[in-house]
Amino acid sequence: MKRWVAVVIAALVLVPLVASVGVAQAPKIGLILATGGLGDRSFNDQSFKGADDAAAVIAAQYGVTVEDVLDYVEPADIAEYEGFQLQFADSGEYAIIVCIGFDQAAPLEIVAPQYPDQKFVIVDMVVIGDNVASVVTNDWEEAFLCGVVAGMMTETNVVGFEGGMEIPLIIGFMNGYTQGAQWANPDVDVLVRYVGEWANPTLGAELAREMYNAGADIIYGAAGKSHLGVFAAAEENDGWYALGTDVDQAATAPEHADVIIASGLKRVDLAVESEIMKMVNGTWAAGIFSYGILTDFGFGTGIAVGNLDVNQYITKSESEVEVPCEVILKLIEAANGIADGTIVIEP
């Protein structure tokens, strides 16, 4: 009897062990999104796209499905981050765990040292560690380019900015936008409002309406899902326009393509994809990776505007709003100025 039990236990332990050695496993990706969640048609969706694209490549390589490679969660609030980070890391199933959003930094600083062999990526904030790659972006560059568009196209000489929270990350956007608008049009005034939440489009629309009524005719949104409300508010009146963030939002929110003049670009998808592919290729390293026009990469920010791909910074948009040629020319001047250092943006 005793021996029989021992045999069964040995079989239970050994069979999965042998099985896992026998088949080359596809490396799995764990993705923890920011609290804005999927469906923001901006930052989170773009991050997801990057991970999804990488997963598709891996899946094709190993002959499995994307679902086998990519697992993701949408935490509802920041208190859930640490629990999810632990769950992913402790399962030991994931070759790399990608944490989206600045607010994951505090829990990651606790979790990452406990799993020294686990590779982590954090987007939008720096966490120092031998197993963490921090991906940051010169957000103020995309905001500056959006400011140029707003400054040139405003008819009231008043433009608006709607941020998610009054934190250095978003203040960087606001400063870039303000400087861009005033670089293109010294007479312009910029109104600034902060929603205080990343996933509240209703409040986002409320604040946008207030700015429109105060005379702003173009509002730039950098508030995650919340600034979808800016687009909705812009629909309510002729002559009210909006600018999108991080992706061509005229394409991701096509129902608002008639009010979204242009969108700042932050290629967080490329950044996430490249981190994952580095892991696959065995070249992954910890450290800080900074994307933007004025960084080692020389890409990562830009603007989607007009109907032509001009260069790597100025690409075409699905927007239905007519953009005059001189705006595009001014944008080229601005992008070149940022790249060669003649335009210095204070973030």
């Binding site: 697992d71 399962s91 930094a105 205080g196």
Partner: protein
């Protein structure tokens, strides 16, 4: 005390309710086009499948033990404390401030934080208690409304430009508490901390108070029959205020435990609804303090399992939340209906 046969019957009803909830949940999962077996397997795995899973369950159960106690101690006095969520936020906030800005030796610092958080929660419970006793204000409404005040106030404190905002991480949270104020974690690498032991200790304490002391007996007799209690010489008004203050104290401790053991700081909107879970927990436990421990474990397991359901991709988090809601609803519904009928007859 419950008679043995009643106890068995109550347990039978509870088990039946859980089964029914899972049955209907299975139907909804199937109708929504997800694999029923995958969802349930992951629900189990996330709640009990391994050290981390058990850790998650215990982590989530810890504050729910406190909030269940908070609900049931008021319930025993014939009151509905719907405001544990807000009392918890106030307690958590005060504990975080004392934990970060006071310098005390180890142990003493923890005790000071727990005391401060508990007392702050007690104050938040005392207000509706006083209004109820002196002015007859319905505690149902006042405790709930004060919850929104508490949560909104804490939002203001930790938002950017708020006085307690931590500039280092940008997120809506306070700075980290001092190492001397932290409750040690007891099941590393999980977030389970000594707060769990404190919670169980308080469950025993509440049981002793309610069933083994004259003061607890008086509190219960107010709940059973106010006129009889008054005839017996119990000062009802004082008991009402005391019951809601104690409820606030326990909820305040729930928040303090979260700050001192789980997050080491106050995080804006840290609670996924532990205060509301306490209402369910208290009712599932049939208002018994020891039962509250097990009710909280069930609620914690559902929350932890829900996270795993989401992570594994078996179904979106919303589906897991639906399942949680169903279980709570089915277990509470009979109790709630019975209670309401009894109250109408009165």
């Amino acid at each position: 005390m419950l008679k043995r046969s009643t106890l068995l019957r109550e347990m039978g009803i509870t088990l039946l309710s859980i089964t029914l909830a899972f049955g209907i949940g299975a139907f909804i999962i199937w109708a929504a086009g997800f694999s029923v077996s995958a969802v349930f397997i992951n629900l189990w795995k996330g709640a009990f499948g391994g050290k981390l899973a058990i850790g998650q369950t215990l982590t989530k159960a810890t504050p729910i033990i406190f909030t269940s106690l908070s609900f049931l101690i008021a319930f025993r006095c014939g009151l509905f404390n719907i405001g544990a969520e807000g009392q918890m936020y106030i307690g958590a906030m005060v504990a975080a401030v004392v934990g970060a800005h006071l310098h005390l030796p180890i142990v003493l610092h923890v005790v000071a934080c727990l005391a401060a958080g508990g007392l702050a929660g007690a104050f938040w419970g005392w207000i509706p208690g006083y209004l109820k006793a002196q002015r007859g204000v319905n505690e149902f409404v006042s405790t709930m409304m004060l919850s929104y005040v508490a949560i909104g106030f804490s939002d203001y404190l930790v938002a950017p430009r708020g006085p307690l905002h931590d500039d280092k991480y940008w997120a809506n949270q306070t700075v980290r508490i001092a190492a001397t104020a932290a409750l040690p974690r007891i099941l590393k690498p999980t977030q389970v901390s000594m707060a769990l032991a404190v919670a169980i200790f308080f469950a025993l304490l509440v049981w002793y108070y309610l069933f083994r002391t004259p003061a607890g007996y008086e509190l219960r007799s107010v709940g059973l029959s106010p006129p009889a209690a008054e005839y017996g010489g119990i000062r009802i008004k004082r008991k009402l205020i005391l019951a809601l203050s104690l409820a606030g104290l326990l909820a305040g401790l729930a928040g303090s435990g979260e700050v001192l053991g789980t997050h080491f700081r106050f995080i804006g909107r840290f609670s996924p609804g532990y205060g509301w879970d306490g209402i369910a927990g208290g009712l599932i436990a049939r208002a018994h303090p020891i039962g509250a421990i097990f009710a909280a474990l069930l609620m914690g397991a559902l929350r932890a399992g829900g996270m795993q359901v989401q992570r594994s991709g078996a179904a979106p988090g919303d589906i897991a939340a639906v399942l949680q809601g169903l279980v709570i609803f089915f277990i509470i519904a009979p109790t709630l209906v019975r209670t309401l009928i009894r109250w109408r007859r009165r």
